[in-house]
């Protein structure tokens, strides 16, 4: 079954501490993965895509096919990183459809 799992509903860290938001996926084909972010009272927006290998707002994510993971990392958390983060998997076959994880709320404490 195709599935995206974000094991943590809430992650709380201190400002300046490293942060890692976990994402595991289940997919038989070659996955394409994304991270989306929703700041308070703002719309959900794309943060980064694994195919771009980019760093956005200091966040990076590496696809680990062996562990079927796509964890989102930042070495030094900032208060403005507090938001809801969703991991998403693009499915192929029968048209493209993206499925989302349940989300992790990141809270960065001052």
């Amino acid at each position: 079954a195709q599935r995206v799992t974000q094991p943590e509903k809430l992650l709380s860290v201190f400002k300046g501490a490293p942060v890692e938001l976990k994402c595991n996926y289940s997919y038989s084909g070659s996955p394409e993965l994304f991270w989306y972010v929703q700041y308070s009272r703002q719309r959900l927006q794309l943060l980064l895509r694994h195919i771009s290998r980019e760093s956005i707002k200091g966040f990076t994510a590496d696809l680990n096919k062996g562990e079927t993971s796509f964890h989102l990392k930042k070495p030094f958390a900032q208060e403005e990183d507090s938001a809801m983060y969703y991991c998403a998997l693009k499915r192929f076959g029968g048209g493209f459809k993206t499925i989302f994880g349940a989300g992790t709320r990141l809270f960065v404490k001052a």
Binding site: Q6, K9, F34, Y36, Q42, R43, L44, Q45, L46, R49, Y86, A88, K90, G95, F96, K97, T98, I99, F100, G101, A102, G103
Partner: protein, 113 residues
């Protein structure tokens, strides 16, 4: 530079009412989607559309229908609203191959009483 616009931010409807949620995008995207967002459940796909007059069921289509008469507009219809349809509804659009991910609207919070 709003690109996906949902017509209402908040709606309160009575049980049994027919409800229309409207979404318009100005990016000439082929794909449009309706999701509902619930705490602890993430985003669940209700319906999506690849083209005008085309529609496909998502993961939770029961109790909903959609309409896409024009490329830029995708409507979600609750034929007879029920309290378990109280939720945040998100519209999104994308290119046909979803290469650049999705662009979301700001959401409609629907309360059915």
């Amino acid at each position: 530079d709003v690109k996906v616009t949902q017509s209402s931010r908040y709606l309160v409807k009575r049980t049994g009412e027919k409800v229309f949620l409207e979404c318009v995008q100005d990016m000439d995207h082929e794909n449009m989607f309706w999701y509902r967002q619930d705490p602890g459940l993430g985003l669940r796909l209700i319906y999506f559309s690849y083209d005008v007059k085309m529609k496909e069921k998502g993961d939770i289509p029961e109790g909903y229908s959609v309409s896409r008469e024009k490329k830029e507009r995708f409507s979600l219809i609750l034929e007879s609203a029920s309290t378990n349809q109280t939720s945040m509804y998100l519209c999104a659009s994308s290119l046909l191959n979803e290469r650049d991910g999705y662009t979301f609207g700001s959401g409609t919070r629907l309360t059915v009483v």
